[in-house]
Amino acid sequence: MSAVQPAVLVTAHIEPVHVPKSLSEPLWVRLLLGGIALLFLTLFLFIPLAAVFSEALKKGWEVYLTAITEDDAWSAIKLTLLTASIAVPLNLVFGVAAAWTIAKFEFRGKNVLLTLIDLPFSVSPIISGLIYVLIFGAQGWIGPWLRDHDIKILFAVPGIVLATIFVTFPFVARELIPLMQSQGSEEEEAALVLGASGWKTFWHVTLPNIKWGLLYGVILCNARAMGEFGAVSVVSGHIRGETNTIPLQVEILYNEYNFTAAFAVASLLALLALITLVLKSLVEWRLRHELSEQPLQLIEE
């Protein structure tokens, strides 16, 4: 497996062993390294995160609440939810199908397929948007035809959804593939021998086995779907109240020097990120727990 975002999940974690005294570094080295790590994380993670909430609440709760309930903000929230509710399920179905075909069967070109699935991660968000401009834009492949038939894709909601599907394409698949490969097919084979149909086997045997990995992929996929900026920015057209997602609304407010409102709307996304991290940690803990119960070989092919 490979790509521009590391699959943290399935690399088996082994709890650190007890360290004999003679092996640990002197106290001053430990303090120095700990201090450097803390300083680095404070500078690059904690302070920026704190700044979002501090700037958002600078002028008090009332201004904050007005900023996030105002009409344009509200329509941005609705568009973001709509986009994620289309993109995530589609990529979920794809992820399950791709994982099933790759984990359960041997066929030629499997490695090529694996690389192609990861491809969207290595494409700049701007290029992920550009490709849809080249297809649906006025000078694009089917742009003129769409114009004649009065169908709007670019600078409208369908374009935003398509760009979001593209950038979140690999998330579920790349969590499920190594997980299903590590679980093998014995349980499914047993169910089939006992007379269960393929669908029944999937619902009652496979799905319970992969549910935590599935959830993990969905959480990551959803976070990216709701937060994507670059790709969506290219295809959105930035029409207020119509084609602005939450991240685009943040940009517009910021560029209008309406900083408090920009940070207020941004704080919603920061909250989403924190919730994502909490859920992700819980699921990771759950997965590790399950994996430690069944002594499986966890080597990615």
Partner: protein, 270 residues
């Protein structure tokens, strides 16, 4: 095992529709350009300056992450301290936080009256709206990569080897340079390549803090946008092809690095 044709068919169909056809549009579009037009589009002074900034800043950001991300991974694996689980979870923040939010937050921090900028500017260090700001943003978004590639390797590293080295009289520094560092090297390089690849294409977190001055602080993805806004689709696409080609080369490099890393850790276990 049933479902092979169904799942493979659907996988290929969806992959082709969502990824392959749209991506091929970029290459097909450039075939409509003449070679001289393509060449001048991808080598103009302004775009060359943007390559230097994008790749230079990505290189520095990824290097900073190798050093500090390596230390963070070390501290998280080897030391016990209160709040460790929370800090560990927060390392993934740059993956989870939308890039636009990171962008405005960093800009607010480093602008003249920001929390950090107000101390840096009197010292003559301008971060916001300069290439330095680009480096800060690209360091932020690359932060989790090195930590997350080094962490599992460090967790699985065999302490017996270190114990053996220590019992044979090696001091801490020798143990580190001869035993630990060679084990971590493939993971460090993989993390570096991942962070670098991500940074070269990054847009959202950079554009707010960069100032976006042509020739000075304009990154390549932004230049593609500028071309698009001028309706120069061919020019935008030509630069996109250059960036895509570099991304694919990086992806290949990362694949090879990961294969090396896996081989290294497997041969150690056996």
């Amino acid at each position: 095992m049933p479902g092979f044709h169904l799942t493979l068919g659907f996988t290929l169909f969806y992959l082709t529709l969502i990824v392959l056809i749209p991506l091929s549009a970029v290459f097909l579009k450039t075939f409509t350009m003449s070679w001289p037009a393509f060449w001048s589009a991808v080598t103009s002074d302004r775009v060359m300056a943007s390559y230097r900034l994008s790749f230079g800043a990505s290189l520095i950001g990824a290097s900073l992450n190798v050093v500090f991300g390596g230390i963070v991974a070390w501290v998280l694996v080897r030391y016990e301290f209160p709040g460790k689980k929370i800090i560990d979870a927060l390392v993934d923040l740059p993956f989870a936080l939308p890039t636009a939010v990171a962008g405005i937050a960093l800009t607010a921090l480093y602008s003249a009256n920001g929390w950090l900028g107000r101390y840096l500017e009197p010292m003559g260090i301008k971060v916001a709206f300069t290439p330095l700001g680009v480096i800060v943003a690209l360091t932020f978004i690359g932060l989790p990569f090195v930590v997350r590639t080094v962490q599992p390797v460090l967790e699985e590293a065999e302490r017996e080897l270190e114990e053996a080295a220590a019992s044979l009289g090696a001091n801490n520094w020798q143990t580190f340079t001869r035993i630990i560092f060679p084990t971590l090297l493939p993971a460090l390089l993989t993390g570096f390549a991942l962070a670098f690849a991500r940074a070269t294409g990054e847009y959202g977190s950079v554009i707010f803090i960069a100032g976006n001055m042509p020739m000075v602080s304009e990154i390549t993805p932004l230049f593609i946008i500028t071309k698009l806004e001028q309706y120069d689709y061919a020019g935008a696409t030509a630069i996109a092809v250059v960036m895509l080609t570099i991304s694919f080369i990086l992806l290949l490099t990362i694949n090879l690095l990961q294969a090396w890393s896996r081989r290294r850790s497997q041969s150690e276990r056996s």
